[in-house]
């Protein structure tokens, strides 16, 4: 496996791709990664059916996730070179046309394991286990109502995610892709009695579906051009094998092969919430916090990055593909950061920060440092999980209170120290504080951007990094630092968010809204052992991940996503980038400190001054209302489509049904009515009509016949 290293963008990956050609058959016990979540799904389903009101489903799910993590680690240990593990055949059509042309469409349930897969599966199952443990306590108040349903959702998610990552062909990837979308629909809509949650779930699924359409079109185009959907197979007709052999160029037509990268990109942006299709992620915060942490921060949203990383050779098909990815990533990062600054709800802020960090990752992929992107994914998974989980703990403790203006001085409250300090570590990493894990991974991407001579994009990202640092510490200073003061959420003891959660059991009347729930705790209750333990472990993970740079580099370079050899890339990175990034991070923190700790009044004063001045009034209002993007979509796409649908329905009911069908139906009756007066009952009139008929017949025969003879023979000939 030669390590040919060329810096030039195009040919670098060829060497890595030929590694895919020598694929060996992997161990069949790896299949358990897939079957375990399914088994836990079924068991949770049984628990739900039998109405088991204990924490059993939680232990089943945590157990299955842990075992699959162990299996992944075992697989990682025994990994020598890319492995192919066929499990079950799914699509297996082959045919032969009359003139001997044979064709086939094969897409089975099979794994393609290379280092990239292992990297992704490790942190997916690892974080999955930890967050499932966290959720076991967090969802405790729901034990009687939806506990089993929640953990069934988590198992479905894990099954789908492992399908996606371990897939050996694009169709199984598509299965995982939609499965993950469905799992997020299931879990966002967990509090199904809340219309906003149901709407958010529906919105998530449909926006994902739009992205999936892009992916589907990409898959079909790939099949159309390359005749296969598999990455690599024994007969050497896998996608990467064809790409590596370069034999595809002359066969396929021009535009269809060029369009593939852009369609895959659309799919990736749909799933990883980038510019056109990011609107669903902030609403996805309606789901319980563990879901936000696991799915909407760490694992699912990175599926887009995984797709582009895995499909890097395909992305090369069009020269402008990767730069577009980079620019869209950059713009999303900037946009999300600006919105994140102006929000007051902790989970919403973290959601926008996730969108922004994902933008960074896509920039990484765009500028051909998949290592940088993967490293950022790895580190981001940890510190974003910490931030979400701490946010969840706060919400859990303060009965659903999430508004940063209503809580402050968490650090000084008894029992909340762990939460405060772990949140600090998370914030430091997110802000890219020098020597934190975020700093190293973000620096990789920033350096690479400047290395590939894209200064404009670089400075934009630096500005975004500044904003990131500001809004991260805006939250920390507001919530954790400052004088101790808090307002309880009106959520009664237990779980749920800042709203009334109807506990309408079957047959049991839902409590009336207005009566104050009797047992609201006046004192916020700090998280207990399970939550604290998980917080500490993940924070340790976040800290360790700073030093895992080289480990990630090794993983990425030995997979289809390999681009540059880590060593060389460093020389070309301009030295001044890390220093600049570090100072920017510190500057952001200082500004946040000034506005949100030193003089909180000045922040409000600044905002008031901005609103007063007509010239700048638009800025704060626009940022708080998320640049009116949702309203824009609603107005530009949903409403016109709704009106068009109504028009179609009216058209269908009145024009096609009433006018044509019933019209034609009424025709005979109308013609019948026009003949009716003939039957007026008078004997003589009948006689006249009869005589007239006879006369006409004779006239026709005598006069017309000689002229019509040839035509009539033609018309009536034929027979006999």
């Amino acid at each position: 496996m030669t390590e040919a290293v060329q810096l030039s963008l195009g040919s670098g990956w060829l060497a890595a791709v030929d590694a895919a050609r020598s694929v060996i058959a992997g161990p069949s016990w790896a299949g358990w990664i897939l079957w375990l979540p399914l088994i836990s799904l079924v068991l949770c389903g049984v628990c739900a059916a039998l109405k088991i009101h204990t924490k059993l489903p939680a232990w089943i799910t945590v157990g299955s996730l842990a075992i699959s993590f162990v299996v992944i680690v075992a697989l990682y240990m025994s990994y020598r070179q890319p492995m192919e593990i066929p499990l079950l055949d799914w699509f297996n059509l082959n045919w032969r046309s009359n003139d001997g042309q044979a064709g086939s469409f094969v897409a089975g349930f099979a794994f393609y394991v290379d280092k990239l897969t292992l990297l992704w599966m490790l942190f997916v199952t690892g974080l999955g286990t930890l967050i499932a443990l966290y959720a076991s306590e967090y969802m405790e108040p729901d034990v009687k109502r939806g506990y089993a349903r929640f953990f069934a959702g988590i198992s479905v998610f894990l099954f789908a995610m492992s399908c996606l990552v371990l897939a050996d062909n694009l169709v199984m990837l598509y299965l995982g892709w939609e499965g993950v979308g469905f799992a997020s629909y299931w879990l966002i809509g967990y509090y199904y009695t809340r219309p906003s949650a149901v709407a958010a779930a529906k919105k998530a699924f449909i926006v994902n579906r739009i992205g999936d359409l892009g992916l589907a079109l990409g898959i079909w185009l790939i099949y159309y051009n390359f005749g296969t959907v598999e990455y690599a197979n024994a007969q050497g007709t896998g996608l990467f094998q064809i790409l590596a052999s370069g034999s595809y160029k002359h066969e396929a037509g021009g535009w269809s092969i060029q369009a593939i990268p852009f369609l895959l990109m659309l799919g990736a942006f749909g799933k990883s919430a980038q510019i056109p299709l990011y609107v669903w992620l902030p609403d996805a915060m309606e789901g319980p916090t563990p879901v936000s942490a696991l799915i909407h921060a760490a694992t699912m949203v990175t599926a887009g990055v995984y797709l582009l990383a895995r499909m890097l050779p395909v992305m090369e098909l069009h020269p402008a593909a990767l730069p577009t990815v980079a620019w869209i990533g950059g713009l999303t990062a900037l946009l999300a950061a600006t919105i994140g600054m102006a929000q007051y709800d902790i989970k919403r802020i973290w959601a926008y920060s996730t969108v922004s960090q994902l933008g960074f990752m896509f920039v990484g992929v765009g500028v051909l440092t998949t290592y940088g992107a993967a490293f950022h994914v790895f580190t981001h998974a940890f510190f974003k999980a910490v931030l979400f989980l701490t946010g969840g703990a706060v919400m859990h403790g303060f009965a659903g209170q999430l508004d940063i203006r209503k809580i402050s001085g968490l650090r000084h409250m008894p029992g909340w120290q762990i939460t405060a300090w772990t949140m600090l570590v998370g914030c430091l990493c997110l802000a890219g504080f020098p020597l934190s894990s975020g700093f190293f991974s973000k620096d990789e991407i920033l350096a690479q951007v400047f290395a590939v001579h894209r200064p404009w994009l670089g400075f934009m990202l630096l500005f975004t990094a500044l904003l990131t640092a500001y809004y991260t510490f805006r939250v920390w200073f507001r919530v954790c630092a400052g004088p101790v003061s808090y307002e309880m959420g009106e959520e009664h003891h237990g779980h749920g968010d800042d709203h009334h959660h109807g506990k309408a059991d079957t047959g049991h009347k839902a409590p009336p809204r207005h009566a104050p729930p009797a047992h609201v705790a006046h004192q916020p209750h700090p998280p207990r052992f399970a939550i604290n333990f998980v917080l500490v472990v993940i924070t340790v993970g976040a800290i360790i991940s700073t030093f895992s740079g080289s480990w990630v580099m090794d993983k990425v370079s030995h997979s289809s996503a390999a681009v540059l050899h880590a060593a060389d890339s460093h020389e070309h990175h301009p030295g001044w980038v890390p220093w600049l990034a570090g100072t920017i991070a510190v500057a952001g923190i200082v500004v946040a400190w000034h506005f949100h700790l030193a003089s909180r009044k000045s922040a409000d004063a600044l905002r008031a001054r901005l609103l007063a001045n007509p010239l700048t009034r638009w800025l704060p209002t626009a940022m708080e209302n998320k640049w009116y993007v949702d309203e824009f979509y609603e107005w530009m796409i949903v409403t016109p489509l709704w009106i068009f649908a109504h028009a179609l329905y009216l058209f269908d009911r009145y024009v096609i049904d009433l006018l044509f069908v019933d019209g034609v139906a009424r025709l005979p009756k109308w013609m019948g009515r026009s003949f009716q007066p003939l039957q007026n009952g008078v004997l003589q009139s009948y006689a006249v009509l009869m005589a007239g008929g006879v006369g006409l017949a004779i006239l026709l025969v005598v006069v017309l016949m000689p002229h019509l003879r040839p035509w009539l023979i033609g018309f009536f000939g034929g027979g006999g």
């Binding site: 079950l88 799914w90 699509f91 297996n92 059509l93 082959n94 045919w95 032969r96 046309s97 009359n98 003139d99 042309q101 044979a102 064709g103 469409f105 169709v171 598509y174 299965l175 939609e178 499965g179 469905f182 629909y185 809509g189 199904y192 009695t193 219309p195 149901v198 709407a199 779930a201 529906k202 699924f205 449909i206 579906r209 359409l213 589907a216 079109l217 079909w220 185009l221 099949y223 159309y224 005749g227 037509g253 269809s256 109807g502 309408a504 079957t506 047959g507 009347k509 839902a510 709704w642 649908a645 109504h646 179609l648 329905y649 269908d652 096609i656 049904d657 044509f660 069908v661 139906a665």
Partner: protein, 556 residues
Amino acid sequence: MTAALLLIVPLLGAAALVVAPARHAKWIALVASTIAFVLSIIMAVRFGPLWTSREFNQIGWVGLIDAFGIRLSLGADSVSMLLVLLTTMLMPLCIWGSFSSITQRLREYYGWMLVIETAMVGVFIARDLIFFYICFELTLVPMFFLIAIYGAENRARAAYKFFIYTFTGSLIALAGLLYIAWQYAKSRGYHWSFDIETLTTFATDMSATEQAWILLALLAGFAVKVPLFPLHTWLPLAHTEAPTAGSVVLAAVLLKLGTYGLYRFVIPMIPLAVVEYAPVIAVLAIIGILYAALICWVQNDMKKLVAYSSVSHLGFCVLGLFALNPLGVQGSVLYMLNHGLSTGALFFLVGMVYERYHTRDMDQMGGLCNRMPVWAFFMVFFVLSSVGLPGLNGFVGEFLCLIGAFTASADNASYPGVLGPWYAAVASVGMIFAAMYLLIMTGKVVWGPLKEPGGHGHAGASRAHGSTLPADLTLREIGVLTPLAILCIYIGVQPSPITTVLGPPIDRILGNYPETVERLAQPDLRPEHDVIQVSGIEQGEPAVSGHQHYSGGADG
């Protein structure tokens, strides 16, 4: 012999019903239809090698009406075998499902159900043109009575429109079919034969203009049944008025008669016309997909929504069929099965709500999962199956149809086609709309705070005073839905046994399409008036060549 028995058993059941007392009617019907199901399984098992052979299995024939040369011969290839299994499997479920919803005129109801089962099975295993047509029209009569007697408010109008619309279409199709039989008889010195096999081999040699007219006639008959875009307006009306089991049968099997007709008559018999007009039909199908999907979005009557959704779904089926390559056609046959299962189940579910709340208006109800969790589970399951979530059956059919249409471009190596990537791309937008309207319906009806029709969400006082059904599904109703769910999962996860079985007959039917497409692609070779020499088709008598004059062929 089992095929003839399969036809006779339901009829015997119907006859027994006339005599039996009303209260035993439902059990007799259930027993008869289960026996039929067992028979069809025996037939399937004994279908033996023919599942994978290219030949056609002549199951046996009864020279009953042999005056015209009609030999009432029965036969099946794996496609019709699968559709027979779908029918006989659905029938007991329909009968079992309508135990509680039908309370008066029981004997007639179950009698008509058994008669319609015979007719449907007859259509699928008919190898004789006239027997096919007899069964094809016979399905109208029981359906007419089911809608007209047991339907909802303006059932008479719906029944009338359903009957006359389809009756007119099928009469025009009869004229087309008779024209083919006549041309065949004329070329054989007036030895009439209505055997589908011989007519298929003969019809391919007819001139392009003749084939175009026949295509128009056959489309008039089958497109109404499918329902293809402009001819679909009878379906929503018929569905909203039909009783639950009636609309399950109508959606699950009767619509498949149209697509089966296209598969059995249009594709194999008139290749020249099909290749020439496939784009037109594909465009109609695509319009149908998007048009019906958008209309579903604005519906507030659940049954009408599901009805329009089957119009949209069958658009995919037709698109797959006219992709004219194995992927597309296998996809459309799979789609017929899957649509039967998932839409059939959806109608059951809507029927169950109707039995409890006597309304189908989505705005009046909400959050039923609080009141009926098991129903909610099945509802979400089957919604996802028809949305096409991978892993369930809907996805398999839809994906194959679209990939078939996608790769049916002129420069495809093995099977050049007349459609192309743009057709499939526009059609696949329908997948988004499908997700939209079905999830909006689920959102309104299943999720959200509890709101029961006729009274705000308190203890079901508002529930239908008359209905004795408990809030959630009874064991019987679960029994009806579970087999469908299991089948959905099985086909979704393991379509390969079905696709391998479908392979040979579809290869046989699509046999000479690549050649026809290539021939029609070059303009100079397009046949203007008479027929070009067509290479011998691999089975049956040698194709009669040179058709300037219809000389008597050396036909057995």
